[in-house]
């Protein structure tokens, strides 16, 4: 029995060695590699939109925009979405270019912008509808990819059916707010803002409960929007997005709109306004010290470009 076992072991070793040797001597080349469909990206006959994206975004800023349907770019495969209408693509992308790219490039330079801007824009024609009744405006992944929804609903001056009262705030709050918000995240994830920022409204952040609040309620606690009150980082980028898309005058108006009295958390009007002012000051200083950007000048450029669009 014992001997048998030794034999067994020897043979096993021999067999292993044998087969290994034979196999490895056969693997000198990996064989023919065929033209694998879709490897290296899909292609189609380029049209005027592809040319516009190439000339206006890819060449100057190394940003690509995917407007043709690809289900797998969207996070949730169970959702029903539709691709954008071709006629919407250039108006949307050029609006983003005018109200986000150009102000940053003019203020901070192309090197800064090309280094930190997200590189992939994915467009969905429809909104993404969530089961509890809300809709998703946009999402960002890892500072690289931004998904914008509702592209077919986008309208600016000069497009058929444009209604200034409805559409200007839609474009501002929807597309431009989203992109400025996401870019704010990229900036603070690269260089964190001063820690004092977190102390300003420290006791009033409320996490996921923000959805039960209105923006007006949040302002009485010293937050610029309800979403601001969800977390430090969101507060920081919501401030950036609101200050840039509302402009200086618009921001002043929001601060001054806080009513007399104290909020349900016991914050007075003066305290809430002071909190917003402190946050504003830290952001302006952060832009100056970290990125050498004059925030107020950037703000003016964003607003000026927006005024031409609506």
């Amino acid at each position: 029995m014992k001997i048998l076992f030794r034999h067994f072991a020897n043979y096993l070793f021999a067999a292993l060695l044998f087969s290994t040797t034979l196999t490895s001597c056969k693997e000198e080349d990996i064989g023919n590699v065929d033209d694998i469909s879709g490897l290296g990206g899909e292609d189609w006959v380029a049209g005027p939109i592809d040319k516009w994206i190439q000339d206006s975004l890819v060449v100057p800023y190394n940003i690509s925009a995917k407007y043709k349907w690809d289900q797998f770019e969207f996070g949730n495969l169970t959702k029903n979405l539709v691709p954008p209408d071709e006629s919407q693509v250039i108006p949307l992308l050029s609006t983003i270019k005018k109200a986000w790219t150009n102000p940053y490039v003019e203020e901070a330079g192309k090197v800064f912008y090309n280094k930190y801007s997200p590189k992939f824009f994915i467009l969905s024609g429809s909104n993404e509808y969530n089961s509890e009744g809300s809709v998703t405006l946009g999402t960002a992944e890892g500072g690289r990819k931004v998904i914008l929804y509702g592209v077919n609903l986008f309208k600016i001056k000069g497009m058929a059916g444009y209604d200034a009262a409805k559409d200007s705030s839609f474009v501002k709050d929807w597309f431009l707010h989203t992109i400025h918000h996401e870019f704010g995240h990229i900036l603070h994830q690269t260089v964190l803002y001063p820690v004092e920022y977190k102390n300003i409204s420290k006791s009033y952040y409320q996490g996921g409960n923000w959805i039960n609040w209105s923006d007006a309620d949040a302002r009485r606690d010293g937050f610029i929007t309800a979403y601001s009150s969800s977390a430090f980082d969101e507060d920081f980028v919501e401030m950036i997005a609101m200050m840039l898309t509302e402009g200086k005058a618009g921001f002043e108006k929001l601060v001054n709109s806080i009513p007399e009295g104290t909020s349900s958390h016991g914050v007075t009007k003066a305290q809430a306004q002071a909190a917003l002012r402190q946050k504003e000051a830290i952001i302006v200083a952060y832009y100056k010290n970290t990125w050498k950007i004059d925030f107020y000048s950037l703000q003016k450029r964003v607003r000026t470009s927006m005024n031409k669009l609506f």
């Binding site: 469909s37 879709g38 049209g47 349907w69 959702k79 539709v82 209408d85 909104n127 609903l153």
Partner: protein, 434 residues
């Protein structure tokens, strides 16, 4: 014995690891064959000289007619029977073929086809977040690709898309706007009375059209025996096409052609089954379903539910004629109009139902006595009492006055669980119960 088995095992291991040839069942690799398949499908789509007639059967039901013309630059031009505008004017968008789990045809920018799939319910009157559960990405299965017919399956909602090679005459008809002429058939909804009939040759048919689900029901009498036939339909430049044909003795109807519409006289003309006729209105069904009224009343009694109507009464061509949808009660919003048979042992309930975040409420309404069912198939309601204070001159008071009309109502079963209750006086008012 045990040992030799073991040695044999080792031996085979050795042999297999030596055997390193790339012989496959197929002459070419999967990638070569896949690329060839994609190229051949694209070639077939592009090289149809007059494009393709298409019918899509969305996962959510119904059937819709399309026309596609593909070119070799990833562009497709189409017409659709979904709206008058889409039938009259073509729209160009893009498509591509892509290797996914199967070779797939993707309509990759917005087109008339996407209108059905749009999750925005305002676009297609579908369900918010789902639309009509249609598709714009389709799997191609090689056994469903024939020279003149290609059948595709939607990747998301399993819609079926059937492409049939078009003739030169068909292509010309689309560009001439003939599809828009076929859509004149939709005017059948403008007849004021509920019942519509058309006489084609020797036969008179009652036509019931549901434009939301794209179904047509035809009812006729074979001697005294009522016969019914239901089919989905879609539009082509030739008129209305049935997805299955009606066979009535020697007459076979595959659809309606030569659609004409006279707006002044509200008259729709059609041809079908080798004859032509004008659609006329009627005040009662061609064949009364004598048991329908009692069946309608009894169903919720047995299941423990009630009948609900979102829109209330349709009167003289006006949906929600009494504006029940605008009803409010303090802070409560209108939910639906209810008919609850055997609400208790003495009476039924016919009332608007209100809701807030906590629940639904009956605040006021009518209490009909148990209705009478006449021998000729009508149901007649009489007032037993009332719940609460019914606002004078309001929607509920008007709805009640109509309900208690002494002529009563016919009940028309429209599906397993839906009925239309149509005024027996003139067939100009009705309410849909679901």
């Amino acid at each position: 014995m045990k040992n030799s088995l073991l040695y044999l095992l080792f031996l085979t291991t050795v042999f297999f690891s030596c055997e390193n040839k790339d012989d496959t069942v197929f002459e070419e690799s999967a990638d070569v064959r896949l690329n060839a398949a994609l190229a051949s499908y694209e070639k077939q789509l592009v090289e149809a000289p007059y494009g393709w007639n298409a019918i899509i059967y969305p996962g959510g039901g119904g059937s819709y007619g399309f026309y596609f013309k593909f070119d070799d630059k990833n562009r497709v031009t189409m017409y659709s029977d979904f709206s008058d505008a889409a039938a009259a004017k073509s729209k160009e968008s893009s498509y591509r073929l892509k290797a996914m789990q199967t070779p797939s045809l993707i309509f990759d920018t917005y087109s008339y086809l996407h209108v059905l799939a749009d999750p925005d319910e305002e676009v297609n009157n579908g369900v918010r977040g789902e639309g009509l559960k249609s598709d714009f990405e389709f799997s191609i299965y090689s056994d469903s690709v024939k020279t003149d017919v290609i059948t595709l399956v939607g990747r998301k909602n399993q819609s079926r898309l059937v492409l049939t090679k078009a003739t030169q005459a068909q292509a010309t008809a689309y560009t001439n706007g003939d599809l828009a002429k076929a859509l004149l058939f939709n005017n059948i909804a403008k007849y004021i009375p509920y019942f519509k009939r058309v006489t084609l040759g020797a036969n008179t048919y009652e036509i019931t059209v549901n434009q939301d689900t794209r179904t047509i029901k035809m009812t006729w009498l074979n001697g005294n025996v009522p016969k019914t036939f239901s089919t989905s339909y879609y539009m082509t430049p030739g008129g209305v096409a049935f997805t299955s044909a009606l066979v009535n003795g020697s007459q076979t109807i595959t659809g309606f052609s030569n659609i004409t519409w006279n707006a002044n006289s509200t008259q729709l003309g059609v041809s079908g089954g080798g004859a032509s006729g004008v659609v006329v209105s009627a005040i009662k069904p061609i064949s009364v379903d004598l048991a329908a009224a009692r069946r309608w009343w009894q169903a919720p009694v047995e299941s423990g539910g009630d009948w609900r109507s979102e829109n209330g009464f349709h009167v003289n061509g006006v949906d929600d004629a009494f504006k029940v949808k605008d009803l409010k009660y303090n802070n409560l919003s209108y939910a639906f109009y209810m008919y609850a048979p055997a609400f208790n042992s003495r009476y039924d309930a016919f009332a608007p139902i209100f809701y807030d975040e906590d629940g639904i409420y009956l605040e006021y309404g009518h209490a009909p006595a148990k209705p009478t069912f006449t021998a000729d198939g009508r149901v007649v309601f009489t007032e037993f009492g009332a719940f609460g204070d019914i606002p004078v001159g309001g929607a509920a008071e008007k709805s009640g006055a109509l309900l208690f009309d002494t002529s009563g109502f016919y009940l028309i079963q429209t599906s397993d669980e839906t009925y239309d209750m149509v005024s027996a006086k003139d067939a100009k008012s009705w309410i849909t119960w679901e």
